[in-house]
Amino acid sequence: MRRGEIITAFILGIFSVYLMWKSGEPPAWNPDVPRFANIGYDESGTPGSGFWPFWLGVMMLASCIWTGVSWALKRTPASVSEEPLLDAHGWKMLITVGGGLLGFTGLIHILGAYGAILVFLLYYIRFLGKHAWVKTISISVSVPVVCFFFFDIAMRIVLPKGYLEPLFIPLYDIFL
């Protein structure tokens, strides 16, 4: 945890500096305006577009420095902890579950939302949850069906269909 604490503070500090840098960006239609001209008041006395995010970035950086000082002085529980941020169980969980979630989101582009839900639930309930096939298939099929009738039919919110779009046209003809 001790190493994680300072690495996190460092990464967030870098992000704070990046935020300050982006806040001072001149508008695309007027590149002649110098960077950081918008972080204070303009000639009409109006705070510029970068005023709010820039000073928030300054406060974020100050918070990261504060965390760094506390770490150096070993004032916080995390700065004195020698436990790892994630143990073997944690990394395995993150890879199987987090990876599955990323795969699910990526599959939406190919199989659409309903196809991706079916595959993700099959993967999770059967392979991670180790439930029986009957339970796995009944949940994996019923959830996308209920979602379809709730979102596409009842709420008229059309979820992405990916390459499976032609399969849904007859359903639209029947229910809409």
Partner: protein, 511 residues
Amino acid sequence: MDILFSLIDGIMIALQPMNLGLAIVGVIVGLFVGAMPGLGSVNGVAILLPFTFVIHNISGGATSPMIFLAAVYYGAMYGGAISSVALGIPGASTAVATTFDGRPLALQGRAHIALMAAALASFAGATISNVLFTAFAPMLASVALDFGNPEIFALMLLAFATFAGLGGDDVAKTIFSICFGLALSAVGFDIISGEPRLLFFDIQGFSHGIRFLVLAIGIYGIAEMLWTLNSARGDSSISKVDVSFASMFEAMSRFRHAWRGTLIGSALGFFVGLLPAAGATPASLMSYGIAKMTSRDSKNFGKGALDGVAAPEAANNSASTGAMLPMMTLGIPGSPTTAVLLAGMVIWGLEPGPLLFTEQPDFVWPLIGSFYISNFVAVLVNIAFIPLFLWMLRMPFTILVPLVFVLSVVGTYAAYMNMFDVWLMVLVGIGGFFMRMMNYPVAPAVLAIVLGPIAEPTLRQTLMQYETFTVFLTRPIAGPITIAAIFLILLPMVRPLIARIRGGRAGAKGI
């Protein structure tokens, strides 16, 4: 007395069989729409607005369509708490604060108590608000106008200061989280100058801003689930909740311990709801903060305090009624939902204005009557459905978790119809998991991204108007609020000094 007779007449019209039936249907539909992550009262009212034309054709009057819309609104406000408690995903921004303590209660196997407290606090909040609305509507409309930009920004500052001063987390990390959330809320276009800003890595998807739900669902739907999975270490169920009549009665009796939060939420919620551009979300977050600040048991907040559920739930329902006041008497909607409701009301004959109560009593009083009836129907329907919501928690972890992920992804897409937001939500979730592991509090970041779009314009417009920061200290309403906020921010730094001085005195006295 005139008010009382008018109200009774209005309630009798709302109780006519057709209107009562519409109220029940509207509440049930609203409850389920509100409980669905990504969909809130604004979606429910907007999607069902066209149905009011059908209702109008059947009923032949403007009252029934308005009663239906009011019932959907109430149902959705109640429903937001359900997914916050049962799944740990706020159904809408108004239910974010409910997650802070509702979720820990569910994890402790006390979801029935949390859901019952949410339902009863919502009922109390809406009832108190309805009474205040009925009695003081015309007078309060003018008070709301005294709240200008400095006062509203001071209120925002107080909400942030509550987290920094009383959060109990590392102060530096809390301040970072608040600023981080505020910075994310500034992504997109600057609404004052119209300039694009903070398009990170020049990705055009950021041009529409980072929406609140993306962050909230990512943090509560994904990060929190990953964290629970990491902590549960193979434990198969999320909580061993008891679903029986006895447990329901026990939950009802426990509600007496949440009276403080309910009263704070009801009063503050109504008042914040009155303010133009505030609404139910800031009201619920502020009520949570004030309930925590004034509680003797503030350390239990965030770990399953019943007042932590009751205060925001009472507040968001109270504010929903309060927000009707500027909408009806001034024509200023306090929230996106009231903007849609205003559109519906104008379609059906409402002419907003200070003389509404004298010029259109036949329209206004049945509508106010329907608030009372819808609220009563909503609490009954909500309590009746609690066992169904609890059943979700009895599912094995290995089924509930993928369902929560599916709802998170689908809910995010349904809210914005944009895959960029879905990817962002998932990445925020995974990033949020690491921040949670490193003890960065996530609730202040969510609070900040909700309040950011109100805080920034009010601060900048104040500075444009008064050209000095001292205005926050010199105005009669903003001054005390700002001083209270500064005191709270300094509290964590002052507290060790006070303890040291006390320790020194005790040592000098030889104690």
